[in-house]
Amino acid sequence: MPAYAIEIILNRQLADCLSMPVFITDTAGNLIFYNEPAENVLGTRFEETGEMKVETWSTIFKQQDDEGNLLPPDSLPLVRTLKEQNPNHKTFWIVSLQGKTEKISVTAYPIIGRAGNFLGAVAIFWQVKDAS
Protein backbone atom coordinates (compact mmCIF):
# COMPACT_ATOMS: atom_id res chain seq x y z
CA MET A 1 0.00 0.00 0.00
CA PRO A 2 1.37 3.46 -0.85
CA ALA A 3 2.48 5.70 1.99
CA TYR A 4 0.09 8.35 3.30
CA ALA A 5 0.55 11.95 2.23
CA ILE A 6 3.04 13.77 4.43
CA GLU A 7 0.27 16.07 5.69
CA ILE A 8 -1.35 12.97 7.23
CA ILE A 9 1.97 11.61 8.51
CA LEU A 10 2.83 14.94 10.15
CA ASN A 11 -0.59 15.06 11.83
CA ARG A 12 0.09 11.62 13.31
CA GLN A 13 3.56 12.67 14.46
CA LEU A 14 2.00 15.73 16.12
CA ALA A 15 -0.75 13.63 17.72
CA ASP A 16 1.93 11.38 19.21
CA CYS A 17 3.25 14.42 21.13
CA LEU A 18 -0.10 15.59 22.54
CA SER A 19 -1.93 14.75 25.74
CA MET A 20 -5.38 15.36 24.23
CA PRO A 21 -7.12 12.40 22.58
CA VAL A 22 -6.63 12.76 18.81
CA PHE A 23 -8.30 10.70 16.08
CA ILE A 24 -7.23 10.85 12.43
CA THR A 25 -9.48 9.62 9.64
CA ASP A 26 -9.22 9.29 5.91
CA THR A 27 -11.70 11.12 3.67
CA ALA A 28 -14.28 8.34 4.11
CA GLY A 29 -14.13 8.53 7.90
CA ASN A 30 -12.15 5.34 8.41
CA LEU A 31 -10.02 5.67 11.55
CA ILE A 32 -6.41 5.45 10.40
CA PHE A 33 -4.73 6.51 13.67
CA TYR A 34 -5.50 7.39 17.27
CA ASN A 35 -2.98 8.40 19.91
CA GLU A 36 -2.45 7.05 23.42
CA PRO A 37 -4.90 9.42 25.17
CA ALA A 38 -7.49 8.41 22.54
CA GLU A 39 -6.86 4.76 23.41
CA ASN A 40 -8.32 5.50 26.85
CA VAL A 41 -11.45 6.96 25.25
CA LEU A 42 -11.93 4.00 22.91
CA GLY A 43 -10.83 1.37 25.40
CA THR A 44 -8.63 -0.24 22.73
CA ARG A 45 -4.99 0.09 21.70
CA PHE A 46 -3.99 1.21 18.22
CA GLU A 47 -1.20 -1.37 18.17
CA GLU A 48 -3.84 -4.05 18.63
CA THR A 49 -6.68 -2.79 16.43
CA GLY A 50 -4.77 -1.04 13.67
CA GLU A 51 -7.01 0.98 11.41
CA MET A 52 -10.78 0.73 11.89
CA LYS A 53 -13.52 0.98 9.31
CA VAL A 54 -15.96 3.82 9.91
CA GLU A 55 -18.75 1.29 10.54
CA THR A 56 -16.71 -0.27 13.35
CA TRP A 57 -15.42 2.69 15.27
CA SER A 58 -18.56 4.79 14.96
CA THR A 59 -20.42 2.23 17.11
CA ILE A 60 -17.91 2.22 19.97
CA PHE A 61 -19.79 4.98 21.77
CA LYS A 62 -23.16 6.70 21.54
CA GLN A 63 -23.48 10.47 21.38
CA GLN A 64 -26.19 12.21 23.44
CA ASP A 65 -27.35 15.73 24.19
CA ASP A 66 -27.88 17.14 27.71
CA GLU A 67 -31.33 15.53 27.89
CA GLY A 68 -30.02 12.09 26.95
CA ASN A 69 -31.39 12.17 23.40
CA LEU A 70 -29.29 10.42 20.75
CA LEU A 71 -27.61 12.92 18.44
CA PRO A 72 -28.08 12.39 14.70
CA PRO A 73 -24.75 11.59 12.98
CA ASP A 74 -25.02 14.67 10.77
CA SER A 75 -24.83 16.93 13.82
CA LEU A 76 -21.47 15.52 14.97
CA PRO A 77 -18.39 17.66 14.33
CA LEU A 78 -16.29 15.00 12.60
CA VAL A 79 -19.14 13.89 10.32
CA ARG A 80 -19.80 17.51 9.35
CA THR A 81 -16.11 18.16 8.75
CA LEU A 82 -15.86 15.13 6.48
CA LYS A 83 -18.91 16.31 4.54
CA GLU A 84 -18.19 20.04 4.39
CA GLN A 85 -14.38 20.11 4.65
CA ASN A 86 -14.75 22.82 7.28
CA PRO A 87 -13.77 22.92 10.98
CA ASN A 88 -16.53 22.13 13.50
CA HIS A 89 -16.89 22.13 17.27
CA LYS A 90 -19.56 20.83 19.63
CA THR A 91 -20.02 19.81 23.28
CA PHE A 92 -22.07 16.70 24.05
CA TRP A 93 -22.12 13.44 26.02
CA ILE A 94 -20.62 10.12 24.99
CA VAL A 95 -21.65 6.77 26.39
CA SER A 96 -19.15 3.95 25.97
CA LEU A 97 -20.04 0.30 25.33
CA GLN A 98 -19.31 -0.29 29.02
CA GLY A 99 -21.94 2.32 29.93
CA LYS A 100 -19.47 4.99 31.07
CA THR A 101 -20.85 8.49 30.45
CA GLU A 102 -18.61 11.49 29.88
CA LYS A 103 -19.17 15.09 28.78
CA ILE A 104 -16.77 16.13 26.03
CA SER A 105 -16.14 18.83 23.48
CA VAL A 106 -15.00 17.74 20.04
CA THR A 107 -13.04 19.91 17.63
CA ALA A 108 -12.71 18.56 14.11
CA TYR A 109 -10.70 20.04 11.29
CA PRO A 110 -10.08 18.95 7.71
CA ILE A 111 -6.59 18.19 6.44
CA ILE A 112 -6.21 20.18 3.23
CA GLY A 113 -2.86 19.38 1.61
CA ARG A 114 -0.34 21.59 -0.15
CA ALA A 115 -2.04 21.02 -3.47
CA GLY A 116 -5.35 22.13 -1.96
CA ASN A 117 -6.71 18.59 -1.91
CA PHE A 118 -8.78 17.12 0.91
CA LEU A 119 -6.84 14.28 2.54
CA GLY A 120 -8.73 13.43 5.72
CA ALA A 121 -9.77 14.87 9.07
CA VAL A 122 -8.65 15.17 12.66
CA ALA A 123 -10.92 15.09 15.71
CA ILE A 124 -9.67 16.25 19.10
CA PHE A 125 -11.69 15.26 22.17
CA TRP A 126 -11.60 17.70 25.09
CA GLN A 127 -12.78 16.47 28.46
CA VAL A 128 -15.26 19.00 29.88
CA LYS A 129 -14.66 19.73 33.52
CA ASP A 130 -17.85 19.92 35.56
CA ALA A 131 -18.30 23.55 36.75
CA SER A 132 -20.22 22.39 39.81
Binding site: P2, A3, Y4, I6, I9, R12, D16, R114, A115
Partner: protein
Protein backbone atom coordinates in the same frame (compact mmCIF):
# COMPACT_ATOMS: atom_id res chain seq x y z
CA UNK B 1 21.80 5.82 -16.91
CA UNK B 2 24.96 7.57 -15.85
CA UNK B 3 24.85 9.61 -12.64
CA UNK B 4 27.51 12.19 -11.81
CA UNK B 5 27.55 13.94 -8.46
CA UNK B 6 28.57 17.58 -8.77
CA UNK B 7 27.71 18.79 -5.30
CA UNK B 8 26.97 16.87 -2.09
CA UNK B 9 27.55 19.49 0.60
CA UNK B 10 24.58 20.78 2.58
CA UNK B 11 23.46 24.28 3.51
CA UNK B 12 26.36 26.40 2.21
CA UNK B 13 29.37 25.82 -0.07
CA UNK B 14 32.69 25.24 1.66
CA UNK B 15 36.19 25.83 0.32
CA UNK B 16 38.48 24.36 2.96
CA UNK B 17 41.29 22.08 1.77
CA UNK B 18 40.19 19.80 4.61
CA UNK B 19 36.92 19.24 2.77
CA UNK B 20 38.27 18.70 -0.72
CA UNK B 21 37.74 14.92 -0.84
CA UNK B 22 33.98 14.96 -0.30
CA UNK B 23 33.75 18.40 -1.86
CA UNK B 24 32.34 21.76 -0.95
CA UNK B 25 29.70 22.37 -3.61
CA UNK B 26 26.04 22.20 -2.65
CA UNK B 27 23.43 19.85 -4.13
CA UNK B 28 23.68 18.99 -7.79
CA UNK B 29 23.70 15.71 -9.71
CA UNK B 30 23.57 15.00 -13.43
CA UNK B 31 21.66 12.01 -14.80
CA UNK B 32 22.22 11.17 -18.44
CA UNK B 33 20.96 8.52 -20.79
CA UNK B 34 21.54 8.98 -24.50
CA UNK B 35 20.59 12.52 -25.48
CA UNK B 36 18.56 13.12 -22.35
CA UNK B 37 20.13 15.09 -19.53
CA UNK B 38 18.57 15.71 -16.14
CA UNK B 39 20.18 18.02 -13.62
CA UNK B 40 18.99 17.30 -10.11
CA UNK B 41 18.99 20.55 -8.10
CA UNK B 42 20.81 23.78 -8.85
CA UNK B 43 23.23 24.15 -5.96
CA UNK B 44 26.72 25.56 -6.39
CA UNK B 45 27.75 22.27 -8.04
CA UNK B 46 25.92 23.51 -11.10
CA UNK B 47 28.52 26.19 -11.88
CA UNK B 48 31.40 25.99 -14.33
CA UNK B 49 30.31 23.12 -16.47
CA UNK B 50 28.90 23.39 -19.93
CA UNK B 51 27.31 20.01 -20.20
CA UNK B 52 25.78 20.69 -23.62
CA UNK B 53 28.97 22.00 -25.29
CA UNK B 54 29.94 19.88 -28.30
CA UNK B 55 27.23 17.27 -27.68
CA UNK B 56 24.71 18.43 -30.27
CA UNK B 57 22.14 18.31 -27.48
CA UNK B 58 20.14 21.49 -26.92
CA UNK B 59 17.68 20.46 -24.24
CA UNK B 60 18.31 20.08 -20.53
CA UNK B 61 15.83 19.49 -17.69
CA UNK B 62 16.52 20.81 -14.21
CA UNK B 63 14.64 19.08 -11.40
CA UNK B 64 14.54 21.16 -8.22
CA UNK B 65 13.62 19.41 -4.97
CA UNK B 66 12.92 22.75 -3.29
CA UNK B 67 13.96 26.35 -3.37
CA UNK B 68 16.26 26.70 -0.38
CA UNK B 69 19.31 28.67 -1.42
CA UNK B 70 21.75 25.75 -1.34
CA UNK B 71 19.61 24.08 -4.04
CA UNK B 72 19.24 27.05 -6.40
CA UNK B 73 22.29 29.25 -5.90
CA UNK B 74 24.02 27.75 -8.96
CA UNK B 75 21.17 28.61 -11.33
CA UNK B 76 22.54 32.06 -12.16
CA UNK B 77 25.80 30.44 -13.32
CA UNK B 78 24.32 27.62 -15.39
CA UNK B 79 25.89 28.07 -18.82
CA UNK B 80 23.05 26.54 -20.94
CA UNK B 81 20.72 29.34 -19.76
CA UNK B 82 22.70 31.85 -21.80
CA UNK B 83 22.43 30.21 -25.24
CA UNK B 84 19.27 31.17 -27.18
CA UNK B 85 19.42 27.80 -29.03
CA UNK B 86 18.83 25.85 -25.82
CA UNK B 87 15.56 24.54 -24.40
CA UNK B 88 15.79 24.55 -20.63
CA UNK B 89 12.99 23.11 -18.55
CA UNK B 90 12.80 23.66 -14.80
CA UNK B 91 10.63 21.33 -12.75
CA UNK B 92 10.01 22.38 -9.14
CA UNK B 93 7.59 21.91 -6.26
CA UNK B 94 4.21 23.59 -6.52
CA UNK B 95 2.96 25.93 -3.83
CA UNK B 96 -0.57 27.24 -3.23
CA UNK B 97 0.72 30.71 -2.45
CA UNK B 98 3.08 31.61 -5.30
CA UNK B 99 4.02 30.28 -8.73
CA UNK B 100 7.38 28.60 -9.28
CA UNK B 101 8.34 31.55 -11.49
CA UNK B 102 7.55 34.06 -8.73
CA UNK B 103 9.45 32.09 -6.10
CA UNK B 104 12.54 31.56 -8.30
CA UNK B 105 12.46 35.24 -9.22
CA UNK B 106 12.97 36.18 -5.58
CA UNK B 107 16.54 34.97 -6.02
CA UNK B 108 17.04 35.61 -9.73
CA UNK B 109 16.34 39.35 -9.56
CA UNK B 110 17.94 42.45 -8.03
CA UNK B 111 19.10 43.08 -5.38
CA UNK B 112 20.15 39.43 -4.91
CA UNK B 113 21.17 38.79 -8.53
CA UNK B 114 21.69 41.11 -11.52
CA UNK B 115 20.03 38.91 -14.16
CA UNK B 116 16.30 38.30 -14.04
CA UNK B 117 14.69 35.01 -14.94
CA UNK B 118 12.77 36.63 -17.79
CA UNK B 119 16.01 38.01 -19.28
CA UNK B 120 17.64 34.61 -19.78
CA UNK B 121 18.18 34.14 -23.54
CA UNK B 122 17.38 30.40 -23.65
CA UNK B 123 13.90 29.04 -24.29
CA UNK B 124 12.79 28.54 -20.69
CA UNK B 125 9.81 26.44 -19.55
CA UNK B 126 8.73 26.06 -15.95
CA UNK B 127 6.72 23.08 -14.65
CA UNK B 128 5.18 22.77 -11.20
CA UNK B 129 5.08 19.29 -9.67
CA UNK B 130 3.64 17.82 -6.50
CA UNK B 131 2.70 14.20 -6.03
CA UNK B 132 3.17 13.75 -9.76
CA UNK B 133 4.37 11.38 -12.46
CA UNK B 134 5.87 12.79 -15.64
CA UNK B 135 8.07 11.70 -18.53
CA UNK B 136 11.26 13.19 -19.91
CA UNK B 137 12.93 11.30 -22.77
CA UNK B 138 13.51 7.70 -21.64
CA UNK B 139 12.81 8.54 -18.02
CA UNK B 140 9.63 8.15 -15.99
CA UNK B 141 9.85 10.42 -12.99
CA UNK B 142 7.77 10.35 -9.85
CA UNK B 143 7.82 13.29 -7.48
CA UNK B 144 6.36 13.22 -3.96
CA UNK B 145 6.27 15.79 -1.22
CA UNK B 146 8.56 14.80 1.66
CA UNK B 147 9.12 16.12 5.17
CA UNK B 148 11.32 19.22 4.99
CA UNK B 149 10.43 22.86 5.73
CA UNK B 150 8.60 24.51 2.81
CA UNK B 151 7.31 22.72 -0.30
CA UNK B 152 9.90 20.00 -0.95
CA UNK B 153 9.78 16.95 -3.18
CA UNK B 154 12.00 13.97 -3.79
CA UNK B 155 12.38 12.32 -7.19
CA UNK B 156 12.29 8.71 -8.35
CA UNK B 157 13.90 8.42 -11.78
CA UNK B 158 13.38 5.21 -13.73
CA UNK B 159 14.61 4.26 -17.19
CA UNK B 160 12.54 1.07 -17.14
CA UNK B 161 15.49 -1.03 -15.99
CA UNK B 162 16.90 0.84 -13.00
CA UNK B 163 15.69 3.31 -10.41
CA UNK B 164 17.62 6.25 -9.00
CA UNK B 165 15.95 8.01 -6.07
CA UNK B 166 17.08 11.47 -5.07
CA UNK B 167 16.02 12.88 -1.67
CA UNK B 168 18.83 15.18 -0.55
CA UNK B 169 16.82 17.05 2.10
CA UNK B 170 14.51 14.94 4.23
CA UNK B 171 13.64 14.35 7.87
CA UNK B 172 11.54 11.17 7.99
CA UNK B 173 12.28 10.75 11.70
CA UNK B 174 10.52 13.96 12.74
CA UNK B 175 8.20 13.09 15.62
CA UNK B 176 8.02 12.10 19.26
CA UNK B 177 9.27 8.57 18.71
CA UNK B 178 11.48 9.02 15.66
CA UNK B 179 10.92 7.22 12.38
CA UNK B 180 7.69 5.25 12.02
CA UNK B 181 8.61 1.79 10.81
CA UNK B 182 5.22 1.00 9.27
CA UNK B 183 6.17 2.03 5.74
CA UNK B 184 2.65 3.34 5.05
CA UNK B 185 3.53 6.08 7.57
CA UNK B 186 7.03 6.71 6.24
CA UNK B 187 7.65 9.95 4.34
CA UNK B 188 9.46 9.25 1.07
CA UNK B 189 8.85 5.51 1.12
CA UNK B 190 7.10 5.38 -2.26
CA UNK B 191 10.04 7.16 -3.85
CA UNK B 192 12.71 4.93 -2.40
CA UNK B 193 11.02 1.51 -2.38
CA UNK B 194 13.42 -1.08 -3.85
CA UNK B 195 15.49 1.61 -5.62
CA UNK B 196 18.78 0.53 -7.16
CA UNK B 197 20.41 3.69 -5.87
CA UNK B 198 19.22 6.16 -3.26
CA UNK B 199 20.94 9.48 -2.58
CA UNK B 200 19.64 10.64 0.79
CA UNK B 201 20.15 13.36 3.35
CA UNK B 202 22.55 12.35 6.14
CA UNK B 203 23.68 15.74 7.40
CA UNK B 204 24.17 14.97 11.07
CA UNK B 205 25.72 12.45 13.37
CA UNK B 206 23.33 10.68 15.72
CA UNK B 207 24.38 12.99 18.57
CA UNK B 208 24.11 16.20 16.54
CA UNK B 209 20.61 15.32 15.37
CA UNK B 210 19.32 15.35 18.95
CA UNK B 211 19.67 19.15 19.02
CA UNK B 212 18.62 19.73 15.39
CA UNK B 213 15.20 18.06 15.30
CA UNK B 214 12.78 19.92 13.09
CA UNK B 215 15.50 21.48 10.96
CA UNK B 216 14.52 19.20 8.10
CA UNK B 217 17.53 16.88 7.91
CA UNK B 218 18.49 13.35 8.86
CA UNK B 219 21.16 11.72 10.94
CA UNK B 220 23.36 9.17 9.20
CA UNK B 221 21.71 6.50 11.36
CA UNK B 222 18.23 7.50 10.23
CA UNK B 223 19.32 7.60 6.59
CA UNK B 224 20.52 3.98 6.67
CA UNK B 225 17.44 2.93 8.64
CA UNK B 226 15.21 4.62 6.04
CA UNK B 227 17.09 2.92 3.20
CA UNK B 228 16.78 -0.43 4.94
CA UNK B 229 13.01 -0.03 5.44
CA UNK B 230 12.67 0.93 1.77
CA UNK B 231 14.72 -2.06 0.63
CA UNK B 232 17.17 -0.08 -1.50
CA UNK B 233 20.16 -1.81 -3.06
CA UNK B 234 22.69 0.99 -2.64
CA UNK B 235 22.70 4.18 -0.56
CA UNK B 236 24.75 7.33 -0.89
CA UNK B 237 24.79 9.49 2.24
CA UNK B 238 24.78 13.12 1.18
CA UNK B 239 24.09 16.74 2.15
CA UNK B 240 27.18 16.72 4.36
CA UNK B 241 27.18 19.28 7.13
CA UNK B 242 29.32 22.30 6.16
CA UNK B 243 31.20 22.01 9.45
CA UNK B 244 32.33 18.43 8.80
CA UNK B 245 35.83 17.99 7.41
CA UNK B 246 36.83 14.94 5.38
CA UNK B 247 38.48 13.44 8.45
CA UNK B 248 35.40 14.02 10.59
CA UNK B 249 33.13 12.51 7.93
CA UNK B 250 35.37 9.43 7.74
CA UNK B 251 35.30 9.14 11.52
CA UNK B 252 31.51 9.50 11.70
CA UNK B 253 31.07 6.95 8.92
CA UNK B 254 33.38 4.44 10.58
CA UNK B 255 31.39 4.85 13.79
CA UNK B 256 28.12 4.41 11.86
CA UNK B 257 29.41 1.17 10.32
CA UNK B 258 30.39 -0.12 13.76
CA UNK B 259 26.90 0.49 15.16
CA UNK B 260 24.88 -0.70 12.17
CA UNK B 261 24.89 -3.98 10.32
CA UNK B 262 22.83 -3.66 7.17
CA UNK B 263 23.08 -5.99 4.21
CA UNK B 264 23.15 -3.38 1.47
CA UNK B 265 25.92 -1.12 0.23
CA UNK B 266 26.15 2.32 1.70
CA UNK B 267 28.85 4.95 1.54
CA UNK B 268 29.45 8.67 1.76
CA UNK B 269 28.67 10.59 -1.41
CA UNK B 270 31.63 12.51 -2.82
CA UNK B 271 31.76 15.26 -5.42
CA UNK B 272 32.83 13.86 -8.80
CA UNK B 273 31.56 10.36 -8.03
CA UNK B 274 30.07 8.57 -11.06
CA UNK B 275 27.66 5.68 -10.93
CA UNK B 276 26.40 3.67 -13.88
CA UNK B 277 23.04 1.96 -13.62
CA UNK B 278 21.85 -0.38 -16.40
Amino acid sequence: MKITLRGVRGSIPTTSPHMSHYGGNTSCAVVQEGDCILVMDGGSGMQQFNLLEGTGINRVDILLTHLHLDHIQGLGFFIPFFNPENDVHIWGPASKTNSLHARLSRYLSPPLFPVQLRDLPCKLSLHEVGNSTFHIGPFTIDSRFVIHPGPTVGFRVSNGRSVFTYIPDHEPALGANGMLTDTKWLSGFDLAAAADLLLHDAQYSFQQYQSKKGWGHSSMDDAVKFASLAGVKQLLLAHHDPAHTDAQLDELFADLKKRNNYFFNYELAAEGMQIDLP
